[in-house]
């Protein structure tokens, strides 16, 4: 009764093809947009905005990985390395050639797409776990290359400082301005991904994921679409890496290690493989969970005793344990991810007050 589909008549092709067709859906999306664009920036402080920025960057990266792993079924543990490619490209263009930040973003994404497609070529012959190891090799090779090729790394420390990004003469020097930059990129990435997965290309991806032999037989060009999936996913990763570089104003390869790749895999698995909204949920969950856990545990412990070193040790390790435990718990609760949990809620309200 709340999510009413009947009585909604579409009178143009555009209305029929719209992403959100029901009036409640349109209203909800508008409310989320207002919340993100107006309420969050004005109502919170720098600290929470910095968290929102980190979440925004993770959202872009997670959507990219979900396109590759969730929609096309190609497991990739090299996501961190493709982010590093984008990050260093943007840093080199901005620091050495003085390019504005949006050129750095696009160029970072483009070069990461090329590199990703290159490392995606083994996917044409191997699948599943074997492909995972090939992409793991990509992670290490790119890390090594960035570290040892002085032209890329800018010296022994493999760190490049990026001048403050400016947009039309306005320097992005506060968390708020950076928040808008990241929000714009994340929103664009989200809309593109939502449209991609409903399109012909998206259906080809899903066909490859579900049964690639059958897809090949009915005429889907596996070669082209697998490479395209790697390219698009690496473009997102490159943009996320470039965003991270501009946000921190520094490019350092240790921000893009294998731990980061595994974290992104965790984001899409928890969020829901094969759904764009799920990537968003997963990104929020994995990025904010350690921080929220710290607040909760320190808050509870702080009621009992002032901090001692033993307590801080226990706290830090407890956080890791609880984090892993929560990940396992959510996966047992709903193996298909947080998106499935959200769908349960949505489906319930779709037929409410009836039971089915």
């Amino acid at each position: 009764m709340i999510y009413r589909e009947c009585g909604v008549f579409k009178t143009s092709y555009a209305a029929d093809m719209a992403l959100y067709r029901a009036p409640l859906a349109k209203f909800a999306v508008a409310a989320v947009a207002v919340f993100c664009a107006v309420i969050v920036p004005l109502g919170t402080n720098d600290h929470l905005l910095s968290l929102a920025n980190l979440v925004g960057i993770a959202v872009v990266g997670a959507i990219g990985l979900n396109i590759l792993t969730g929609f096309t079924g190609q497991i990739s543990i090299g996501h961190g390395a493709f982010m590093a490619v984008g990050g260093y490209t943007a840093a080199i263009l901005s620091a050495r050639y003085g390019m504005p930040f949006w050129v750095g973003l696009i160029a970072g994404g483009a070069l990461a797409a090329v590199v990703g497609a290159g490392f995606g070529m083994p996917s044409l012959r191997i699948k599943g776990l074997y492909l995972a190891i090939a992409t793991l090799a990509a992670q290490f090779i790119i890390e090594w290359a960035i570290n040892h090729i002085t032209w890329i790394s800018g010296g022994v420390q493999s760190t490049i400082y990026v001048p403050r990004p400016t947009l039309g003469g306005v320097p992005l020097n506060s968390e708020l301005r950076k928040y808008y930059m990241i929000l714009a990129v994340a929103a664009a990435g989200y809309v593109f991904a939502m449209n991609l997965v409903r399109s012909r290309v998206g259906r080809a991806f899903m066909a490859i994921r579900d049964r690639d032999v059958a897809a090949e037989i009915i005429g889907v060009n596996i070669f082209a679409y697998k490479l395209l999936a790697f390219a698009i996913s690496s473009f997102y990763a490159g943009v996320a890496g470039a965003l991270f570089t501009y946000y921190l104003e520094i490019a350092n390869y240790e921000q893009f290690t294998i731990t980061v790749s595994v974290q992104y895999l965790a984001m899409i698995i928890i969020g829901g493989l094969g759904s764009v909204l799920g990537s968003v949920f997963g990104a929020i969950f994995i990025t904010l969970l350690p921080i929220v856990l710290r607040w909760v545990v320190e808050g509870i412990w702080g009621l009992f005793a002032p901090p001692t070193s033993a307590m801080l040790d226990v706290l830090a390790n407890l956080r890791l344990i609880v984090f892993g435990g929560l990940v396992i718990f959510f996966l047992i609760l709903e193996p298909d991810g947080l998106y499935r949990l959200w769908r349960h809620v949505k489906d319930y309200f779709r037929v409410w007050p009836f039971a089915y």
Binding site: N147, E254, L312
Partner: protein, 422 residues
């Protein structure tokens, strides 16, 4: 009859009320606390080091508070653990900033790089003793970053001075010296390379570098090369984590004399020798930027503080004094800077005033735990003082006093980095 809990609480409530009132009154009577922030890594790649250093920091702050704080102001130290991850470190920084920290202990080289622009923009001094970026010794370029202890460049230069001094005692010319530099293949490990290459050109000795790929456990080939093929006369080792103990064992296995091996500061702790074996590590040389052992007045005061509470001194103090003392070193310098800032400017205390406090630190040696460093506006490193210790008879024994080496060369490199830098 067993007391019921509600009866117990009812009895205690008036006591609690009185207690809380007294506490608030007492709090109102003392002066405003000064907030210091610190980051630590208790669960990440350097989890063997982090808890010990952070324990030292906490204990020193407790000691200062027990003695009445800094000029009457109690110190509030907030530690946030970040597991060596940059996003968590950024969030930790923002939290500490929000809590009003006037100085911060950063932890981890990539974290220092990521937080440097923020420290400069928010004008909160961050200290990075023993790690971080070597060119942050330039106080003019990085007014709010304080290495406060020998950077990797200074450590390499000092190690080389020690080696060349020992070499000259044998009477042979420097150009006959064959030096091997074995290092962990990541940016921190590679950082001393420009210094060593510059000094090789200056002094004329032969240098060969041996990179150990992460995670730093495979170096038998490098050890063999150093000992048998290259036949190095001296080895400077820059390894961390679990690598130093592996390097001791490997070099011992190929028969290389360990009293010709000198390790930079992060490979010279008791835990490394514990893992390798105190008997085979006899003669191994390690560089330190803070004193080792319990023979310092401040360490004795901490032990007494624990004994007054009826507890034994903590394990890091006894077993891992290298890292524990470095924690005390970090905390002591932060507190000294705050004290100097308070003396000069009084309340209210801000990051800018603490920066000037840092820049006036001199003659602060804590009975030998801290070197005779002098921090100035130009030199945020304090002079790059180090001390060499040697493994003898199952403990670390001082082999030299505090010294520095090739300061002109190091500053040349710092100035070049500034000229090239962004």
């Amino acid at each position: 009859m067993n007391p019921r809990w509600c009866d117990v609480f009812r009895a205690l409530t008036p006591l609690m009320a009185v207690g809380m009132t007294l506490a608030t009154l007492a709090a109102a009577a003392t002066k405003e606390p000064i907030v210091l922030g610190g980051e630590c890594d208790r669960t990440g790649p350097t989890q063997l080091v982090g808890p010990n250093i952070c324990h030292g920091v906490l204990d020193y702050i407790n000691l200062v508070n027990k003695k009445g704080g800094v000029l009457g102001h109690p110190l509030k130290y907030l530690e946030i653990e970040h597991g060596y991850e940059v996003p968590r470190a950024v969030e930790a920084y923002e939290t500490l900033k929000g809590q009003g920290a006037v100085a911060m202990l950063d932890y981890g080289t990539p974290i220092v790089y990521a937080l440097t622009p923020r420290h400069m923009a928010d004008k909160i001094p961050g200290i990075t003793p023993g790690f971080g970026r070597a060119d942050s010794a330039d106080g003019k370029r990085f007014p709010y970053i304080f290495p406060l202890a020998a950077s990797y460049w200074s450590q390499a230069a000092a190690a080389l001075k020690f080696v060349l001094d020992e070499w000259q005692k044998t009477g042979k010319p420097p150009k006959d010296l064959k030096l091997a530099y074995i290092f962990y293949d990541n940016p921190a490990g590679r950082e001393p390379l420009p210094t060593l290459e510059r000094l090789a050109k200056l002094e004329g000795f032969q240098l060969r570098t041996f990179a150990v790929p992460p995670p730093g456990l495979e170096m038998s080939a490098a050890a063999l090369d150093i000992a048998r093929r290259y036949r190095a006369d001296w080895v400077i080792a820059h390894l961390f984590g679990r690598s130093p103990s592996v390097s001791i064992k490997e070099l011992n296995k190929v028969g290389y004399p360990l009293n010709r091996v000198i390790s930079l500061v992060w490979g010279a702790a008791e835990v490394d020798i514990d893992a390798a074996g105190w008997d085979i590590a006899q003669g191994y040389l390690g560089m330190q930027f803070a004193g080792v052992g319990q023979d310092f007045p401040v360490i004795q005061e901490i032990i007494k503080m624990y004994q007054e509470e009826g507890q034994p001194p903590p394990e890091p103090l006894q077993k891992v004094s290298v890292y524990y003392n470095r924690g005390v070193f970090n905390a002591a310098l932060m507190v000294e800077a705050v004290r100097l800032a308070l003396e000069k400017f009084g309340q209210p205390i801000t990051g800018e005033k603490v920066r000037q406090g840092f820049e006036s630190i001199k003659d602060f040696t804590l009975g030998g735990l801290v070197p005779p460093m002098a921090v100035t506006e130009e030199d945020h490193e304090g002079g790059g003082w180090v001390r060499i210790y040697q493994v003898q008879d199952r403990k670390w024994v001082p082999a030299t006093d505090w010294f520095t080496g090739y300061r002109e060369v190091v500053w040349e490199l710092v100035k070049e980095a500034a000229a090239k830098g962004e």
